[in-house]
């Protein structure tokens, strides 16, 4: 089905001088989409040309609309020789294809050249007229919304969460094609950029199709990655969670987004008595047994037919009947069964989300992860990427079986990653095994009454901590106690997860960033031998990383880890492991014990002394940390709790395996066997080092906190100042006889210094918190270690920081108010609808509100059938509306000062360039996100042959990253947005050759473009009536057209 793409080239500015003689440029523009190209006139002798072209119209399939980027090339006209390229702009027109997103792309885009960087700017207007396609067999999936955000986007409500979607496409890497030997670096870079843009468009379209097939309308937690496999090709893969979302279109309907995202989500229905009617031992239910029969049935992923069934899908630890135990109870069993049936339809019950609607998460089992070492081979037929698919399918099966072993039927906070060195590739997947509430998974088949009761039972503050597995048949040795919160169900003593802290969880004190860092030398080897060596090392690394995490957690006096991310990177002669997580003290879990040190040689007096000295230091550190993070749990005497299991043992909640090219699965028991949990034995210098390294971690300076989750546990009074940053460090190891210890120390110092540097740089923001601290390690060369950090610093109000925890009474009050709000929500939705659909003529507006009037309740009653039509209907109306009233948003024109001041949305009126905020979080402190404009997914290559002249490697990369930020901001501004949320730098591959004075860097970033309104502004607006919003866009339209 065709769509019409219209492009207008308005003007350029700050162009580079291309003609040395006149110091001017004769610029013209080529606009290319698919195979069609248009040209503007040549604008002679100007660095600020005004082309003001006609509308260039492309009539194309919507399949192409999704796949292809719009390519704009600025050239310098030369009468006698070939025209010189100044640079290019790639515009992803995908955001124009959703019904609710942007209607026009208009603004100044930096003109980018892969050799020279940004060279001036160009003003472009892009529109799409889309004719809706109702063909069932279509290849396009326009209208499916994509979000990078790993939670339900702020202005939407999840109707159904369908589940996992994945896809991958492969191609040859242009950099490695024979033609690359004869073409210029520029041509090769551009070929690569274009190919990746095309592939990600295709990938997104294919995923969209799967979503439509599942009857969803959106993908949340969309994560797209590139694997640069070198000779063997280029893989673009993506995972996400298909959902059916409903727009809460009234700005007043959704709760204050930010000031306290935690507060917002805390306002969920909950019950003070956690488990009123279950408890005493329910009879063993045969149901429970049944639930574990996963059958790979109808599936939406391509490899559904692959023969993976040989991997045992039955639980490894036989959770037999008769062992359902007291914590089960009929409700739980019933719940399981229901959820099971909901999940049974899915091949992989995985969710890429890390934060969930209230009540969604019932229990959390623990982290599950799987790794596999593979040898890359050339992808022979790009259209059938079976091997790569099979690899991932294998790993996912493993994850699934691990989850099952933990008594969980789903995996949340799921992510996948790769590390490639030469022809060896480590594939990793990890997630958190969990039991979910079926309410969100099923298409409304659950009877309301049951649903409600379940919800009341399960959505307590401590519910998610309760073990999902069977107490008597635990998958690994564990130490269980009764929950410190409800005292009724069992909890483990430590909990590791990959998700964000559930907002209804009760936390004592503040959280902190905990990292485990590890290096292992490896002999250089080829192919098979190399792969074997790596897979032999992997279990030891996992074990040590885990031990480090556990020790550091104890040292901080905390008992749970959230947002755990373990990254294992392979290099030519070493392996690096870096685990980051946010430690917290969960009130429901028992107080962690201390760390004891034991020496091996008891007779040596001075040695004894040394040991006791160390012990003292450790105890001091724990005490200090408790004070620092304000961890003072209420004293509970043992009697009340009753110590059910006498033997304290450390056990791991990590269950993992790694496999080589074969399908052999080895499971690793990470518990310390029979040894006492918290005893560190110092028997050699290595162990000494370990203890020392434990103590060398310096806490952040006062006024600073850091975490790698979305929000810092224990802080909820954010102020509006945010600063997103990326910092990159590369160190060269002093070669030759490196030992593991030296390596470890170097790596540790690198990370610690990097953090210290960040604290120093951001000292003006104190008190502040570094959120979403994301470390990425890569080993670009033999002796180089590269660490990339992206995070956001958010200021908070110190004075209010003290009153963080709320009493239950307050909460129940809040709950009441929430209920009211929920009641109100619907009417509000209506009035807001009319507010939002302002660009429509009045008649349409009535139609619209009428449709939502009748449509939404219908959707609630019978979601599966009506929502798709509803969305289509909406899409059509909106699309037509947008054609009629073309609202041109002139963003940042040079003379647009006056124009700019008319707008109410941009926060900074003085500047001519609108401020665009960027944040890796899903929210903006002190502001409300009013609209999602579409996904930003950009890939850039920059190369230089004059490295020294550009200020060396640092100068080169600094400029490049700044340019990438600039291009992201420009695209968001052109879409009419003022922020990027869930921003992530997925790849930053840096290669240098200082001898040749050359360097090359590839960067891949993504995020969600949004419009936000400051809460303070919002109050003004709402008091003045919502018309202001409309007015502002009206005036804009008038000004520019």
């Amino acid at each position: 089905m065709p769509g019409k793409l219209k492009v207008k080239i308005v003007a350029g500015r700050h162009l580079p001088v291309m003609d040395r003689a006149s110091d001017l440029t004769d610029a013209f523009v080529e606009v290319k989409f698919g195979n069609t190209t248009f040209k503007t006139d040549v604008y002679l002798k100007s660095l600020n040309p005004q082309w003001n072209s006609e509308w260039f119209k492309f009539e194309v399939d919507d399949e192409d609309l999704q796949d292809e980027p719009l390519q704009i090339t600025v050239l310098d006209h030369d009468t006698y020789s070939a025209n010189d390229a100044i640079g290019k702009v790639y515009i992803d027109i995908d955001p124009l294809l959703y019904s609710e997103a942007a209607t026009v792309i208009s603004g100044w885009f930096p003109i980018y050249d892969t050799i020279h960087g940004i060279r001036g700017e160009i003003n472009v207007v892009v529109k799409v007229d889309l004719f809706n396609d109702l063909n069932r067999f279509r290849q396009s999936s326009c209208g499916v919304k994509f979000f990078c955000t790993t939670s339900i986007p702020k202005c939407y409500r999840a109707v159904i969460i369908h589940g996992f979607v994945e896809e991958l496409v492969v191609n040859e890497d242009p950099e490695y094609q024979w033609i690359d030997r004869i073409r210029t670096p520029r041509a090769s870079n551009e070929a690569r950029q274009r190919l990746i843009s095309l592939m990600s468009g295709e990938l997104q379209r294919k995923i969209g199709l799967k979503v439509l097939e599942m009857r969803g309308n959106a993908v949340v937690g969309y994560l797209q990655c590139f694997d640069l496999e070198g000779e063997s090709g280029l893989v673009v893969r993506a995972i996400g969670t298909a959902c059916t979302l409903d727009k809460l279109s009234s700005p007043a309907a959704f709760l204050p987004a930010c000031n306290s995202p935690s507060k917002e989500m805390k306002e969920i229905p909950f019950n003070e008595d956690p488990n009123p009617n279950t408890h005493s031992s329910g009879p063993s239910t045969p149901l429970k047994n049944q639930t574990y029969s996963f059958s790979p049935s109808k599936s939406y992923s391509r490899q559904s037919s692959s023969s993976d069934t040989d991997l045992s899908l039955t639980p490894k630890t036989g959770m037999g009947s008769g062992s359902a135990g007291k914590e089960g109870g009929p409700f739980k069993a019933l719940l399981r069964q229901q959820t099971q049936s909901a999940l049974e339809q899915r091949e992989f019950p995985f969710f890429t989300l890390t934060a969930f609607p209230p009540g969604f998460l019932v229990h959390v089992g623990g982290v599950v992860s799987a790794r596999s070492v593979k040898l890359l081979d050339r992808i022979h037929n790009p259209d059938e990427p079976e091997t790569r698919d099979a690899w991932w399918a294998e790993i996912r099966q493993e994850i699934k079986s691990h989850a099952k072993a933990l008594g969980c039927h789903a995996v949340v906070g799921y992510s996948e990653s790769t590390s490639i060195c030469e022809e060896v590739c480590i594939l990793s997947a990890s997630g958190t095994a969990a039991v979910l509430n079926p309410r969100f998974l099923q298409d409304g088949t659950v009877e309301g009454c049951l649903e409600q009761r379940l919800e009341e039972n399960l959505s307590t503050r401590c519910g998610f901590c309760h073990i999902p597995y069977d107490e008597l048949n635990m998958p690994f040795p564990a130490h269980l106690t009764y929950c410190y919160n409800c005292r009724k169900q069992k909890v483990p003593d430590v909990l590791f997860t990959t998700i964000d802290l559930p907002t209804d969880a009760t936390v004592i004190g503040k959280g902190c960033l905990i990292q485990a860092r590890l290096c292992r030398l490896k002999k250089k080897a080829q192919a098979e031998a190399n792969a074997t060596a790596i897979s032999n090392l992997l279990p030891f690394m996992e074990y040590e990383v885990h031990t480090q995490l556990m020790n550091k957690l104890k040292l901080k006096g905390m008992n749970a880890l959230f947002g755990l991310r373990i990254q294992i990177t392979v290099g030519e002669n070493m392996l690096m492991g870096l685990a980051s997580a946010t430690g917290v003290y969960l009130a429901a879990l028992p107080t962690p014990g201390g760390i004891q040190i034991a020496g091996k040689t008891p007779n040596d007096g001075s040695y004894e002394q040394h040991i006791s000295h160390m012990q003292k230091k450790i105890n001091d550190t724990i005490a200090k940390n408790k004070e620092l993070y304000e961890i003072n749990p209420p004293e509970i005497s043992e009697e009340i709790i009753g110590s059910p299991i006498p033997e304290p043992r450390q056990r791991s909640r990590l269950l993992r395996s790694q496999s080589e090219s074969s399908d052999e699965v080895t499971e690793l028991d990470l518990s310390h066997g029979k040894k006492d949990a918290f005893v560190l034995e110092i028997d050699d210098t290595d162990a000494m080092e370990d203890v020392h390294s434990l103590l060398t971690d310096v806490p952040p300076p006062s006024g600073f906190y850091s975490c790698n989750t979305e929000i810092m546990p224990g802080i909820n009074n954010w102020t509006s100042e945010i600063q997103m940053f990326t910092s990159v460090r590369v160190i060269r190891l002093s070669s030759l006889n490196l030992t593991n210890q030296a390596l470890n120390k170097n790596f540790n110092d690198l990370c610690e210094n990097l953090l210290k540097s960040l604290y120093f740089k951001l000292r003006s923001m104190i008190p502040c918190c570094l959120c979403h601290v994301n470390f990425t390690v890569s080993l670009p060369e033999d002796e180089l270690i590269q660490v990339t950090v992206t995070a956001v610093a958010i200021t908070f109000d110190k004075n209010q920081a003290l009153q963080t925890t709320k009493t239950p009474v307050e909460k129940s009050l809040q709950r009441a108010s929430t209920d009211n709000e929920e009641l109100l929500q619907f009417p509000l939705e209506l009035c807001s609808d009319s507010l939002h659909s302002h660009p429509f003529p009045p008649v349409k507006e009535h139609l619209e509100s009428a449709s939502s009037n009748s449509g939404i309740p219908a959707a609630q009653r019978d979601r599966c059938s009506s929502w798709i039509e509803l969305i289509k209907l909406k899409a059509q109306t909106i699309r037509r509306g947008s054609i009629k009233t073309t609202v041109t948003v002139e963003k940042a024109s040079p003379v647009g000062d006056g124009n700019f001041r008319n707008r109410s949305a941009p926060p900074c009126a003085n500047s001519t360039v609108g401020v665009v905020k960027m944040t890796p979080l899903s929210f903006i402190p002190g502001a409300k996100i009013t609209k999602y404009l579409g996904i930003i997914n950009m890939f850039f290559i920059r190369e230089t042959t004059s490295l020294r002249e550009e200020g060396g490697v640092s100068g080169f990369l600094h400029a490049f990253i700044a340019e990438v930020f600039a291009m992201v901001r420009a695209h968001v501004a052109a879409l009419g947005g003022n922020a990027v949320v869930s921003y992530i730098m997925k790849q930053c591959v840096f290669m240098e050759n200082p001898n040749k004075n050359q360097a090359q860097c590839l960067i891949n970033v993504s995020g969600d473009a949004v419009v936000f309104v400051r809460e303070s502004d919002l109050e003004v607006v709402s008091s003045q009536q919502p018309t202001t919003n409309c007015q502002s866009s009206c005036t804009e339209g008038e000004v520019t057209t």
Partner: protein
């Protein structure tokens, strides 16, 4: 373990004012780190020297990248690469274009050419300002000069518009450009006691009253060049000293008016003819380029120094010059003869007189009839 690469890029570009100042002052990274260590920042923040080094390098790199934009400040406002809040942008520009008093005094009135640039190392050693900083300031002068040289309209406005400077700084630049264009000699030893502020004040009044722009606002170079016609007219002032009767009459008028009001009346009366001759000759010579350049030297030699040797207090000099120019108007013959007058009067830093650190310098004149009787005042403060 050596650091190969170390960068920090914020979505909002971080600008550290202290480091910016160090960078502008031309310190190398090592010197800057040493200075920062000495400022006690390590103790305040608990950072290490390595952290400071990395931080300083980072800022320097950012400034280096920004420098290209600072050469054309409007670009800084419209560029997309660095997201900087407007107040910070203004600060960056203002600081970048700020100059050292000692340095500007050295190059004021000199031709902004390559030759002068070569002498910068001498100036650097003399003033103790780093060569880098000298170069930046010199290049700033030259850049501003080049841009506004050929422009119509008010000099200050042009500078403000093209360089987004604050009003005060734009005025200073206007003075620098004006002096460079007319190449007024300011480096002589005799003139050393005058500060840049004094000259800038003169320049402002001269731009207002003596240039083409003062006469006709639609000319090119209007504020840069002196009005030739006006200078020609000044020749006619010669009658004041050439005509014996007129001279006497003028003297008697001034003396009558000032009797009793001046502390140095007798010295004034005795020196009147010399002073008057000095002033009028300076004015009459201004048709030659060389004499224009020596304007300030001549004024000091012919008028300021005699006054200073007689220990005139500042207020008396003012009185005298006001009266001197006012009296000319009442000279009958002068009115009839289409004469023109320039009255210069200088308030000086007179040893032993008032403690005022400022020296005032005023030139007052009436031009010929067809220029009406415009009055020109020019103060050195």
């Amino acid at each position: 373990m050596t650091s190969e690469l170390d960068i920090f890029v914020g979505n909002t570009t971080l600008i550290d004012e202290d480091v910016y100042r160090l960078w502008l002052d031309g310190y190398s990274v090592t010197d800057a780190v040493a200075l920062r260590v000495r400022s006690g920042i390590l103790e305040q923040t608990g950072a290490t020297a390595a952290v400071l080094q990395s931080d300083t390098m980072d800022h320097y790199r950012t400034f280096h990248m920004l420098e290209r934009l600072l050469h054309a400040p409007p670009k800084l406002l419209h560029q997309l690469i660095f997201q900087i809040p407007p107040s910070r942008q203004a600060l960056l520009i203002e600081r970048y274009y700020a100059f050292d008093e000692a340095f500007v005094r050295e190059v004021l009135g000199k031709k902004l050419s390559k030759g002068t640039k070569k002498d910068l190392d001498d100036i650097s050693t003399k003033t103790g300002i780093t060569l880098k900083s000298c170069r930046r300031q010199f290049d700033n002068f030259k850049r501003v000069f080049k841009v506004v040289e050929e422009m119509r309209g008010s000099l200050v406005d042009n500078i403000q518009q093209h360089f987004l400077l604050s009003d005060r700084l734009a005025r200073d630049y206007a003075a620098i450009v004006f002096f460079a264009n007319n190449r007024f000699e300011t480096g002589k030893k005799k003139l050393q006691y005058l500060s840049f502020g004094d000259f800038a004040f003169c320049a402002e009044l001269m731009i207002q009253n003596w240039t083409l722009g003062a006469v006709d606002s639609q000319m090119d170079d209007m504020d840069m060049d002196l009005d030739k016609e006006f200078l020609q007219d000044l020749k006619e002032l010669k009658v004041l000293v050439a005509d014996k009767d007129l001279l006497d009459l003028h003297k008697s008028l001034v003396c009558t008016a000032l009797r009793g009001k001046l502390g140095v009346f007798s010295e004034m009366e005795a020196n009147f003819k010399n002073l008057s001759r000095g002033l009028v000759n300076v004015a009459a010579k201004l048709t030659h380029n060389k004499d224009v350049r020596d304007l300030f030297v001549d004024l000091v030699e012919k008028f300021v120094e005699p006054c200073r040797s007689d220990h005139w207090p500042l207020s008396d000099v003012r009185f005298f010059l006001n009266q001197y120019s006012a009296s000319v108007h009442s000279l009958d013959g002068f009115r009839l003869e289409c004469g023109g007058t320039i009255w210069a009067h200088c308030n000086l830093h007179l040893p032993g007189s008032s403690n005022s650190p400022a020296s005032a310098f005023q030139v007052a004149g009436t031009t010929s009839v067809h220029h009406h009787a415009q009055q020109f005042f020019l103060y050195f403060q």
